[in-house]
Amino acid sequence: MHPHLRFAATAAALPAMTLAACGSSTSSSSGGGGSSRTFTLAVVGPMTGDAQADGLHIKQGADLAAEEINNSGGVASGPYAGAKIVIKTFDDTESVDKSVSIANQIASDDQYWAFLGTGFSDAAIATAPVLDRANVSYLSTYASSAKIIATPRHSVFVVPPTFPAYAYSAADRAYKLGYRKAAVLKANAGFGLQMADLFAEEFVRDGGEIVDNQPYTLGDKNTQGIVAHEVQQGPDVVAMAGLTGDDTTQLKQLHDIAPNLPVIDTEAVLFSQNFLDLAGPLAEVAIGQTPSDPDRNTSAAKHLRDAFSAKYGTSIIPDPAAFTYEGVRAVAKALEAGPTDRTKLADALHNVDISDTGVGELKFDTGGGRLGGILWYFHIKGGKFVFDTGYQQTAPLSVKEVPLQH
């Protein structure tokens, strides 16, 4: 290679490498007394890596809630009235080991009053006992496997509806729409497998039949054969338990051989502008769910929608953002009871009951599961989400259909 060309090539590579080496960092403060006091919350998620978008959304929800609480004067009442919330962000890179390592760090550092976040349930399941042993309140604000709270732990709370709420409501919705033969396409990962099993369990209980149940490797786009196999079993609906990018590819592959076959999302991953962009007109066969119906007509919901839109430029609130927003609000509410240490904060969280966070009612059962959370079901028409009905989690293994709140 000519020396000049070699130099140019080297120079061209440097910006890319520099860009890649950039990370994210945050800072926080703590200490003080009375109204100048601050409470630092650790907000953890995959801020880099393949699940970076989830981490960003977790951070967005936490930042918005803290900003609102602090701008309205801090903790609303009680001995800590006026105290401010400080968010410190940690990147677990979607690694279970890293999540546990961060949990150990938080557990040994008294400045942190609570730990919120983690992207996927595998990390949450591993992190929960570490934090519980140290009496640090852990609010899982995206991961929602029932296994996180299968062993009741005093300091562990799951803010989203748990997996059974997602899967049972999807099965019930599919059945009520008249579908009787479902094929299940599931990511071969903890969340995909659990969600698929729960969907199948409820769909069969309702009277439906599972005609196929196929795993695929997460991120694999070579799924033509799996999709063909599913269609050949004659389903009248396909239930997907994967992630947005995979779901969209499979939607396209399904469309090529069975153009009008409806699909139902069991994971609440389709409520995003990215899905609409990726799927285009193919999205019209999709049925999905989200906790954040933008047309929900309550003052708290309108406030959250407007605040999120003003800060982030969209009224489509991603699930991790909505739940982390709720989690920070729950901690601020618990602080009103004046817990004197981290152990007492968990006691106070068990007594939190917010009638409407903007996403819905928020309170926890004795095992740390969320009660009152609602998943709103939509279909897509003309590139817009059109909401049809809701399902509210009434107990860890129970949901009931509720009307829209428009």
Partner: protein, 292 residues
């Protein structure tokens, strides 16, 4: 037996895609024996650059050219920055680890610049498709098959009939002798990497166009599939690599359509082991001619 036609159609769809990837990988691997673990992430980054060009221009031809050019440049940079300084310094594992590090750099560069979510990618070669045997044949498959045949034939002609091709064969046979014979070994090697990048990027653009989106994690799968197919094909054979890709595609189709995708990886590994036991030299022992 009812599944046989579906297996064949899906197998050819997957197989030609793997064959094109493997052909690209083998341009370097078969000739100079270097394993580049950054191959997949490089062509994914090239595809994201193509996506950026498509987003701003909407022009398919420009998008394809940008992707192929980016693939060439990224692979040339891999050779110049990560491999050339390490070549001939003892431990053969060091350059491989260097490409692994570079793969992470490429992946993070794509994530930082474009975000981690999949992005819409247009079907550059058309989106027409026809239902066949319970599945669908996309026009992209036809284009992929055409490119596999043309490139395989073109590479053989290039290696047999051109001065540069003879230089490549000389480098393959004995690098030191080629250098002493006045062949610009460095330039020949860079040319091979540029070819690898161009063909690899073409394979990625076809793949993502058919899938409908470009996705960062796919890079690792590209490398894994291309390497497995190249090894199946005998390691040092271009046509063998293409044949290995077709075999791998058929194996995946058998798993997906008949016994379930959960058996896909075990079947792939079993075939690899069987082929290596029965034919240690791979499916094709050699295609690159030895005579210089």
């Amino acid at each position: 037996m009812a599944e046989v036609p579906t297996v064949l159609v899906v197998g050819l769809t997957l197989g030609f895609s793997f064959a094109l990837l493997s052909l690209a990988f083998a341009v370097v691997y078969a000739v100079i024996g270097e394993i580049n673990l950054a191959f997949g992430d490089s062509i994914v980054l090239a595809s994201f650059i193509a996506y950026a060009v498509y987003s701003s221009s909407g022009n398919y031809a420009l998008t394809a050219l940008a992707g192929i050019a980016a693939g060439m440049v990224l692979l040339m940079l891999t050779e110049l920055l990560a491999l050339r300084p390490l070549r001939g310094r003892g431990d053969a594992l060091v350059p491989i680890m260097a490409t692994l590090g570079l793969a992470l750099v490429m992946r993070n560069a794509a994530q930082n610049r474009f975000g981690a979510e999949d992005k819409f990618f247009p079907p550059l070669f058309g989106s027409a498709h026809h239902p066949v045997a319970g599945t669908s044949v996309d026009v992209t498959l036809a284009w992929t098959a055409v490119f596999v045949v043309l490139l395989a034939a073109g590479l053989v002609v290039f290696l047999q009939r051109t001065d540069w091709g003879r230089a490549v064969r000389a480098v393959r046979q004995d690098t030191l002798a080629a250098r002493l014979g006045g062949i610009p070994v460095g330039r020949v090697t860079t040319l091979l990497y540029a070819g690898c990048g161009a063909v690899g990027a073409l394979a990625a653009l076809l793949f993502f166009g058919e899938a409908g989106s470009v996705s960062i994690p796919t890079g690792f799968q590209f490398t894994l599939n291309a390497y497995t197919a190249a090894v199946l094909g005998g390691g040092r054979s271009l046509l063998g690599a293409a044949a290995g890709g077709l075999l791998l595609g058929l194996a995946d189709a058998v798993a997906q359509v008949t016994v379930g995708a959960i058996w896909q990886q075990p079947i792939n590994v079993a075939i690899l082991v069987l082929v290596l036991v029965a034919r240690p030299g791979g499916l094709a022992r050699r295609v690159v001619a030895e005579r210089v």
